[in-house]
Symmetry: C2
Subunit: 209 residues, 2 copies
């Protein structure tokens, strides 16, 4: 059985949603960031990088959201959530997820995790990064809206792992200072996603007391 290590309000929600979408038999383990559990000795045995998500499989442990999403999709091929049978379509899925991971999520992380890229006590540089977040995150969302999101789902008519990942990162756009009016199609997509029973179930589980 699969076991997902997650934390509320993080990118682990994407994999959680996809596990629901494919009907996987899985359990979850909550990591409490407010108590820095992701840096605990026990968790570092699961993921030496000290981050979520991590997915325990019967072959070993997987990390990195783009890899985990494809792993779940490939393990449950009936749902065809990554379009893997078509190399070009699959590459488009992968390029989208890679953009979310290495551009959008990275731009977002400069608001709360600036210490990764400057000294933690350099408050001026940390503040300079935070001031840029609305522009950095906003321009990434605008590129997605303009060039990538086909509609109604990211890849067009077919729902894929890209939708779960975009929805997850779109949770944060207001907190990042991005005006939702600038990206109405992404906000519509977020609303469409929020009505899926799978999404409701994953979120309810993550936010339960």
């Amino acid at each position: 059985m699969l076991k997902l290590y997650y934390a509320a309000h993080t990118c682990s929600l994407a994999t959680h949603i996809v596990l629901e979408e494919v009907g996987a038999d899985y359990s979850t383990v909550r990591i409490d960031f407010s108590r820095k559990q992701q840096q605990s000795a026990d968790y570092l045995k699961v993921n030496p990088k000290g981050r979520v998500p991590a997915l325990v499989t019967d072959r070993g442990i997987l990390t990195e959201t783009p890899a985990m999403l494809v792993y779940v999709a490939q393990s449950f091929p009936q749902a065809d959530l990554a379009l893997m049978g078509d190399p070009f379509a699959f590459a488009k899925v992968q390029a989208f997820n890679s953009y979310l991971c290495s551009h959008l999520h990275v731009a977002h992380a400069h608001r709360m995790r600036g210490h990764r890229w400057v000294d933690a006590d350099d408050t001026q540089a940390i503040a300079a990064m935070q001031r840029k977040v609305p522009e950095g995150v906003g321009s990434a969302f605008e590129a997605i809206e303009r060039d990538m999101l086909k509609g109604p789902w990211v890849m067009g008519q077919q729902y894929t792992i890209c939708d779960a990942y975009l929805f997850t990162l779109a949770q944060w756009l207001e907190a990042d200072g991005v005006d939702p009016q600038r990206i109405q199609r992404i906000v519509d997509h977020r609303h469409r996603m929020s009505e899926r029973p799978t999404v409701k179930k994953a979120i309810a589980q993550e936010l339960a007391p």
Copy 2:
């Protein structure tokens, strides 16, 4: 026929090497960063993100290195360069590439592309980022050396797309201020890669006048 847009000394080398490894029929187009060709109107039609690499296929244009590497591997399945037949092994390949893309390359980019994350005229914040690069890039390489690089190749006995990508980013470690002595196995891997005829050919083409 495939057409690769590349620039010398960038991550496009990874895809270039893999095109050589699979024996693809392909052509290349050089983008000159010193003349800011990546921001030219012509190139923005190829890749609106204004970056390299981009790969023109008969179905359309692909971007984002992790996606392109898998696309080339999947299109030439005989070479089995992404271990796609085994979902867990493929997920390990993908997780490695995702780490390179979203952690290592991002840490490196703070040396030359700090304007992505702070205002371009904030010279203090830009300098603060640059000072952190040896530590950020160094710790990412150390995590690779300690937890990911199995040897002799990244995934063990079988050469994969991960090797071309690691080799490409390992070109920059001295310029990023990382002491090669700290990561001897990665330096050995880089040397092993540099002796492959495919790697020599790709580099020679990129650096030719």
